[in-house]
């Protein structure tokens, strides 16, 4: 992780955007730098900075050029980066547990994925719930997490013909990616389950389930539990399960729960 500083590129995204690009690959170490720069910029509240968008391998900073010029902003970011270079400690990551019902109508393509991969449906589920996935970034639709780390054994090429309407909460696999649809949208992933959890709840004090840099861990629930949780979410009483881990150390879970839908941060 020590050669990234020499590869940083500053790119132009119109008169309002600066792209700080670290690489053109998907890699957890690079994403950790993205996370750190984003945190620094958000903490500093620099005048003229509009907002900061972390992605897989770059940070885009939107700014008001009438308040801060591009050279000023670039210098400022360079200074932060030289600080991060000496920053040894990685930030702890939040792990958010997402309960998923994989059975019957909730996972219409589970049988197909099992046949394609030569596994039994319950083996697909076991692998899918076997580890936390890094949230590299959010995009596509509000709250939609781009996850990394799907076990290779359950990777399946995307569907050639996208479904035009996929219900919110549908959990899918497409290529080496997995995740869940946060609002009803079209999509090409194979649908293996559904979660009652809302990735995006505009009326909640914490409207988004996860942030870039968090981890998301799917857990299996029955269809009865699915409806119990759904009712609890509607009533505002559901307690989201959350734990913390140091990056790169997925064994050291520090379990805790935090109310996602009813307690302000």
């Amino acid at each position: 992780m020590n050669d990234w500083t020499t590869k940083v590129k500053f790119r132009t995204a119109g008169d309002h955007g600066l792209v700080v690009e670290f690489a053109d690959i998907i890699c957890a170490d690079i994403n950790q730098i993205v996370k750190q720069l984003t945190k620094y910029l958000n903490d500093q509240q620099l005048k003229g900075l509009i907002e900061v968008v972390p992605t897989y391998r770059s940070v885009t900073v939107y700014f008001d050029p009438l308040i801060i010029t591009r050279p000023q902003l670039s210098n400022y970011v360079s200074e932060i980066l030289s600080g991060i270079k000496h920053f040894k400690e990685s930030l702890p990551s939040r792990v958010v547990y997402v309960p998923v019902c994989y059975s019957g109508v909730m996972g219409p393509d589970l049988e197909f994925v099992a046949r394609y991969t030569g596994l039994l449906p319950n083996e697909v589920v076991k692998l899918h719930t076997s580890k936390p996935y890094l949230v590299y970034m959010l995009g596509f639709t509000p709250g939609f997490p781009y996850l990394g780390g799907l076990p290779e054994q359950i990777s399946v090429p995307r569907q050639e013909k996208p479904r035009t309407k996929i219900p919110a909460g549908s959990v899918g696999i497409g290529g080496n990616q997995t995740g869940f649809y946060t609002i009803e949208s079209p999509g090409e992933w194979w649908l293996i389950g559904r979660t009652p959890i809302k990735a995006f709840n505009p009326l909640s004090p914490n409207p988004f389930l996860v942030s870039a840099g968090d981890y998301l861990h799917f857990t299996e629930i029955t269809i009865e539990e699915y409806f119990i949780i759904r009712r609890a979410i509607e009533a505002g009483t559901y307690q989201l399960e959350v734990s913390y881990l140091q990056d790169g150390d997925s064994n050291d879970y520090n379990h805790s729960t935090r109310g996602f839908y009813n307690n302000p941060r």
């Binding site: 792209v19 992605t55 885009t60 959010l138 609002i183 409207p207």
Partner: protein, 317 residues
């Protein structure tokens, strides 16, 4: 209160937009034509982020149950108040029980209708802007429908009298527009020849254009290698080149990240002009320096200061 008698083709509540949540995949939304939106608020003395109606192509019919001051700016939709024509780019009195009717856009594409106090819908993540794709903001997260009733808010900044905007502040909408562009962030994925094609060709805005963005038809601009990139951020004005080699310009309801190369970015100062372009209109791109782009923004700010001075009765000399 305002009652929707007819909703028009696509009428939404908009403001400055929902800034600050792109990191969570939330589009900014907000008015497609920032200039007409802001001037409509200035004409009625609203504070700067007040919500207005944005009507597209064909406007609606609305009824009022109280006396108000309202304004219309942007596309000329031949508005009439109780059958009497209303001057576009003006503020006017709307008496109780009157009916305001909008027709088809004669020039431009989007008309902004503001009312003193703003339209009072609940703020979602700090904004009243509708993003219908995400079912967020505005009136129930969607375009208006017949029968929808809207409350009037209290986003008032200064006192006004009915006023017709000085013609020097009224833009003319043409069916051929020139958009100034700053190259990047992935301009290095295109050959000089490809970039030259972008800047010397005419593109037609297709029917598949809406608040999400403008899909263009014309000479293709292919990248040197693959068209896709490791997804990165984008917002209003980004010119993405999809796998088919055709440019797509992001609108207000843009996706916050995208997986295709962005050859360039329309300058902020030209986004209002783009917001008034309609399907079938012709777009040409022209490279500009960043300094020139910032100068355009500075001039726009200067116009706003002048317009507020003209509209605010307490600051008139």
């Amino acid at each position: 209160m305002i009652t929707t008698i007819q909703q028009g083709v696509f009428t939404t509540i908009q403001d400055e937009g929902r800034w600050g949540y792109q990191a969570y995949g939330m589009p900014i939304a907000g008015a497609m034509d920032r200039y007409a939106y802001r001037v409509s608020n200035m004409l009625v003395g609203n504070s700067s982020n007040a919500a207005v109606m944005e009507m597209t192509a064909v406007g609606g019919v609305f009824k009022f149950d109280s006396d108000n001051i309202a304004a219309i700016c942007g596309a000329d939709m031949q508005a009439t108040l109780n059958g009497k024509p209303i001057h576009n780019w003006s503020s006017f009195l709307v008496p109780k029980n009157s009916e305001l009717k909008f027709g088809q856009a004669q020039a431009g594409y989007r008309c902004y209708f503001s009312i003193r106090g703003g339209i009072d819908v609940p703020k979602v993540l700090g904004s009243r802007a509708t993003c219908s794709r995400a079912v967020v903001g505005g009136h129930e997260g969607r375009a208006l429908r017949q029968g929808d009733v809207l409350r009037i808010g209290r986003d008032i900044f200064y006192e006004v009298h009915p006023h017709i905007m000085d013609s020097q502040y009224v833009p003319l909408y043409a069916d051929q527009i020139e958009l100034r562009v700053i190259l990047g962030p992935q301009e290095n994925m295109f050959s000089d020849k490809a970039i030259n094609i972008l800047f010397t060709s005419s593109y037609k805005i297709t029917e598949k254009s809406d608040r999400l963005g403008y899909s263009l038809k014309g000479p293709k601009v292919f990248p040197i290698g693959k068209a896709d990139i490791v997804s990165d951020a984008m917002c209003k004005g980004a010119i993405q080149i999809a796998a088919n080699g055709l440019p797509f310009i992001m609108g207000a309801d843009h996706q916050t990240t995208g997986g295709f190369a962005k050859i360039g970015w329309v300058i902020w100062g030209d986004l209002p002009k783009l917001g008034q372009a309609r399907p079938g209109d012709v777009v040409r791109f022209k490279p500009v320096t960043e300094d020139a782009a910032v100068e355009v923004l500075r001039n726009e700010q200067h116009c706003y200061a002048k317009i507020v001075e003209m509209c605010n009765v307490n600051r008139q000399k």
